[in-house]
Amino acid sequence: MTRENKRLLSGNEAIAYAALAAGVHLGTGYPGTPSTEILETFGAIGGKAQWAPNEKVALEVAIGVAYGNGRALVTMKHVGLNVAADPLFSVAYTGVSGALVLAVADDPGMASSQNEQDTRRYAVAAGVPVLEPSDSQEAYDLFFRAVDLSERFGTPIILRLTTRVSHSKGIVKLNDVVPVARAPHFERNTQGRVLIPAYARPAHRRLRHRLSQIAEWNETSELNPIWEGGDDLGIIASGVAALHAREAVPGSRLLKLGMSYPFPVRRVREFVASVKRCVVIEEGDPVIQELCLSHRLPVEGKPDEERFGELNVSRVRRMINGDHAPRTAPPPGRPPQLCPGCPHRTVFEALHDLDCIVAGDIGCYTLGVLPPFEAMDSCTCMGASIGVGLGLRHVLPLDEARRVVSVIGDSTFVHSGLTGIVEMMYNPPPTGHVVLILDNRTTAMTGLQDHPATGRTLKGEPTHQLSLEDVCRAIGVDDVTVFESQPGQKDHFRELLRAKLAQEKPCVLIVRRECLLAARRRKQASQTVEQEGVTCQPSE
């Protein structure tokens, strides 16, 4: 039910609704908390949405759409932008003729991530404007603004989200006005789009010129409002931190930067001059603080100890009061664990029993590091298990090298494991290697998304199914074994793994059994029961 065209939406949902209304031709991305629901919602409400094998491919597909005068949305979590960084830096040079909006969700506090990097660093490094919505309504409104700016200036735009923007719900007033749709078509622009050095040199100059034009536009844009208040204290803030700050010190003047880069230096300078004391409040790295200081603007930023984790009203209050005393940590909650009956349990019991040295990867199975298994020795980034395992095999003494195993999930393998297998066959370690692909037929950790090896699209429709065993064989792995895992096969699996380790040659062991939650969801799909996110039932 809507009230006067208003809805209660999460920031992610709001972006999906805006993308549909803004006539986005294609939305693509790779699942990653807290960004995942953008594309899921976009697909569910009728948008053309698809998962890519990884963020780099997703961004490249989106660039193609925007080179073809279409409107493209690409979504990922912060660390996904590391994977997509290569095309990002280049598309900043080439620019686009359609619209290219990257919705990138940071995870300050690392609720479900391996680091808390700040996407705005990429905006500055690549030369891509960044918009920072603070809540669902702004996420909705700024998406339209992003499409408009992208087309007007021919630039990609980053919509930087954080967990509390992506996953908080608020009231969103939906637009009645729909932008005029563009008809995609090809215009040849060889010198603009082919980055050979002779063409890239002027492209870099064009990029800097474009950024200075956008900075000039940003000086007077409505994206950076001042919320009135007394002049004793001024706050410069962005994203959800602006709302925390307004609540913490409601009587103070606040400059809210909706577009923090390119930096509107004159507007900020005037604001700083209008108050007696000026404090920058931002979630993540001190990006705005450093921009201010680089222009010699007298602002206070946050001390190093406030750089970690999420901000909230209480923290902002303490920062403004200069209270840097260490805080007592709240009581720990109950830690997550592999679901009862999870097929990964069999694998980690065996890895534990055989005292393997386990190069792990990103997914539910990373929980194998926790008791009772304690069977993971590294988890770096998507796909790293294979390369790290090979490196350990190359360097460790033989008795240790023989115990090294790489463990990677099916979706992660498709994302960035394939080149690791190529490396394993190209530069095999003397003791060989064992790669375990834990194939539970879904991207479980982020909420059961399909991927190329499930044979289903984002919308659940059948498509070509990538065969993990065939692709490993095609790369040249002679020994590819598929173990169809069933409950009660713990001993059987342990002995199989022991035998593979003893072979001392490169091999891939695919442990296959559908995630219990994915199986349940598939059964319920016909009933159109919407589950509450990804929940498991410890009692079942």
């Binding site: 209660l8 709240p330 009581p331 109950r334 592999l338 509450e532 410890p538």
Partner: protein, 167 residues
């Protein structure tokens, strides 16, 4: 101060109990009543059977989506072990609402405990029962609506024991 008239609610439980659905329903009921509303939670790792906490705030104007520590009017607890872990969220005099008193055997389905607890909790809030019913209709697919209405009414008519007040 715009947040003076904001009602702050924290709902706590463990993955699978319906914490997020419960706060969706509270937020929807407040929205339908005409309040500004925000709700927030952390997805991801925390849901693999781990602790789940979700905040709802409603009033004339809600700024931050997160209930500041020590400012929650209510702590609604689906799993008894989560009460202590979240007591620091309550303001002095804030109220803990737990499942004690709900006759689990009378529930139409054990998974509706979250909605029964909302029924019990709803008596603490000044939101019309029609808004709650409409929120339930929006938040559940049609074939689950009737059992959830039953669970809600069961909770609403339960004589909860004296609420646990945070001193």
């Amino acid at each position: 101060m715009p947040t003076e008239r904001v009602t702050n609610i924290v709902v706590a439980g463990i993955g699978g109990q319906g914490v997020l659905r419960a706060t969706d329903i509270i937020a929807q009921a407040a929205f339908l009543t005409g309040y500004d509303v925000k709700k927030t939670e952390v997805h991801g790792m925390s849901q693999r059977g781990g602790s789940v906490v979700s905040d709802v705030r409603f009033g004339d104007c809600v700024l931050s989506p997160m209930v500041p520590d020590g400012e929650a009017d209510f702590l609604v607890v689906l799993e008894p072990t989560q009460a202590e872990a979240n007591r620091h969220r309550l303001k002095p005099g804030g109220v803990i609402v737990g499942c004690d008193g709900i006759d689990a055997a009378s529930l139409p389905n054990p998974r509706t405990l979250n909605v029964a607890l909302l029924g019990l909790f709803s008596r603490h809030l000044d939101l019309p029962v029609e808004a709650w019913h409409e929120a339930l209709r929006i938040c559940f697919p049609p074939h689950l609506y009737s059992i959830n209405i039953k669970a809600f009414e069961l909770g609403r008519q339960t004589d909860g024991k004296a609420p646990d007040v945070n001193e």
